[in-house]
């Protein structure tokens, strides 16, 4: 860490997050809700090198039987999420032990990505691998596997009048029988080819890692609140047709697709329970319209994709 920065409270998918350093990715917590206590608390401190009894592990992540978690990125930091205490199971603490020389923006890169997914699972919020934008007051989720262009399409829609609600992670919940999403991040993570294509000025391109191609770009964002869904788009790339296509997705196929779009599903299964996930996805599949966007893997059809989506919005308005 190079310097200490003023502590702030942020809006993290509807939860209040307290951080000891500034986070450019998240909207500030609304002053009107200052009485709400933080549910996610970040602090710097010592972390274990490994969890003694992990029930799931990879070279970067360990999940403990007690629902603790450890994310280890050797060049950046270790992020330790201790087990929940019995009297405050909805509160999550994240202890960060930075690697000497690591920059705050590198720590933030993992906080709002890999670590955020684990936190959302731990809070029972079932994150989808999707970016989300708001258009005329309703949310459009853009789901897809890694490197299918979720952030790219979200940023392209923002350029055509939408506002960003979240990048790469999207949560949903039911309120009064209505499926809603909630604002998560105000930055999209983009690569130079996309930033060039969208004419994003160099001064807006903030690094995520030193020398790394991926950059964080602050985009016009929706205010920090819950939003009703308009529809969900599932991106399917590598399509052999030269023209992108939108097709309605229905029935079991929609449910199976949604299930495949759960972010870090292996970790979710350690934390959560299958029955709850099944109920949540079934409700989502039942209530939110879904479409497959079949497109190439390349930027040449990006503007056509945006046109198709805007036409769909008009039709469904």
């Amino acid at each position: 860490m190079t310097e200490a920065i003023l502590p702030r409270d942020y809006y993290f998918f509807g939860r209040r997050l307290h951080s000891p350093f500034a986070l450019a990715s998240l909207p500030l917590w609304p002053e009107t809700e200052s009485e709400v206590p933080p549910e996610i608390v970040l602090r710097f401190g010592d972390t274990p090198e490994a969890l003694p009894h992990s029930v799931w592990s990879s070279p970067f992540i360990q999940i403990g039987a007690d629902k603790s978690a450890l994310v280890s990125i050797a060049a950046v930091a270790r992020f330790w999420i201790p087990p929940a205490s019995e009297n405050s199971s909805s509160r999550v603490e994240i202890v960060i032990q930075p690697t000497p020389g690591a920059e705050p923006y590198e720590i933030e890169t993992f906080l709002v990505g890999t670590v955020a997914g684990i936190v959302l699972h731990r809070l029972g919020m079932l994150p989808l691998h999707a970016s989300c934008v708001e258009f005329e007051g309703r949310a459009i989720a853009i789901a897809g596997s890694a490197a299918t262009g979720k952030s790219t399409l979200a940023a392209a829609l923002v350029r055509r009048g939408a506002r960003l609600l979240s990048d790469d992670l999207c949560v949903f919940h039911t309120s009064n029988g209505c499926i809603q999403t909630v604002t998560g991040t105000v930055q999209a993570r983009l690569w130079p080819d996309v930033m060039d294509h969208l004419d994003i000025p160099l001064e807006m391109r903030l690094p995520t890692r030193p020398g790394h191609g991926k950059h964080a770009v602050s985009l016009p964002a929706g205010e920090a609140r819950f939003w009703p869904f308009h529809f969900l788009l599932g991106i399917e790339v590598g399509f052999s047709s030269p023209e992108p296509m939108l097709e309605p997705q229905q029935g079991l196929a929609a449910f199976v697709y949604l299930k495949a779009m759960v972010y870090q599903p292996q970790i979710g299964h350690v934390f959560g329970d299958y029955a709850r996930e099944f109920r949540a996805l079934a409700a989502f599949a039942q209530q939110v319209s879904r479409f497959s966007l079949k497109r190439s893997r390349y930027l040449r059809d990006l503007d056509q994709c945006v046109d198709l989506i805007l036409q769909l919005i008009q039709r469904k308005a």
Binding site: S58, P59, F60, I61, V71, I73, A74, A75, T109, F110, G113, T114, G117, I118, S145, A146, A147, T148, D168, R189, W191, P192, D193, V194, T208, R209, G211, H212, G213, K214, V237, G238, F239, S240, S241, P242, Q264, Q266, I267, S296, R297, Y298, R300
Partner: protein
Amino acid sequence: MKNIETEKDSRNGAQFGWLASYPKSGNTWMRMMLRSLRNNGAPVDINESDQQSTILSRSDFEEFFGAESSDLTQNEIDAVRPALHRAMARASKESLILRKVHDRCWFTASGEPVFPPEVSRGAVYIVRDPRDVAVSAAHHFHIDVEESVRQMGNSNRIIARSSKRLETQLSQPLGSWSEHVVSWLDHAVMPVLLVRYEDMLVDSTKELARVVEFLGLSRKFNREACAIAAAQSDFTKLRQQEEEGGFKEKPPAATTLFFRQGRSGEGKKILPPSLTQKIVLDHSEAMARLGYL
């Protein structure tokens, strides 16, 4: 490709059968034959969703490791490639996992084999006359043949690695064409079966049967099954499908069909003498070894 059940293996856990080759050497054709075999000799759908036998992707990485791959540096990803293969083998319900690779047979910075022998049944290494590879790759990547020949001589060649865009596949170090050949034939820490593209053209059933035998599948798939699968994957049929419905694995830059000619000897006929000489100069040892000189 769905994994193929094999005779019970004496070792524990799943093992990979690597389908390895330098690009444009016949790997996809072999995959299609094995796909038909798996489907009991059914016609091949070249655009069938075939996640498991395709090149490792970022989705594979994230599925098994839970970390956002695009936030990691290339060195961080490279270092855990062996662990990824071991994790995939542990998670597989099948005894054999077929997987296409264009990587040379390489080692991590700490000296660990990227294709770990303990989870590798072996590698089928498909090789093709480099003069024909040069012509085919020029069409595939929409570059001129001079550039294609230059790339084949580049020891530092890596595909699917870019700081400008997010690649779907994990990056694949190739090295030069010769280095690629030598890496698999001499340095792989697993059994390797050499298959020449030219021999596939002469008798695809025979070559498929060799692969089947090597991978331990011969009790399940006899010679007749191989003949049917080879016939269903005949090059003209694959080409016809691509003409009618496209091929999703074809790169956008390609101006010709992926299944373009499927012949041998094109390079000798159309390459200018200077480029033929350069290929021979760059790769004479490996070419002589493989019967191409």
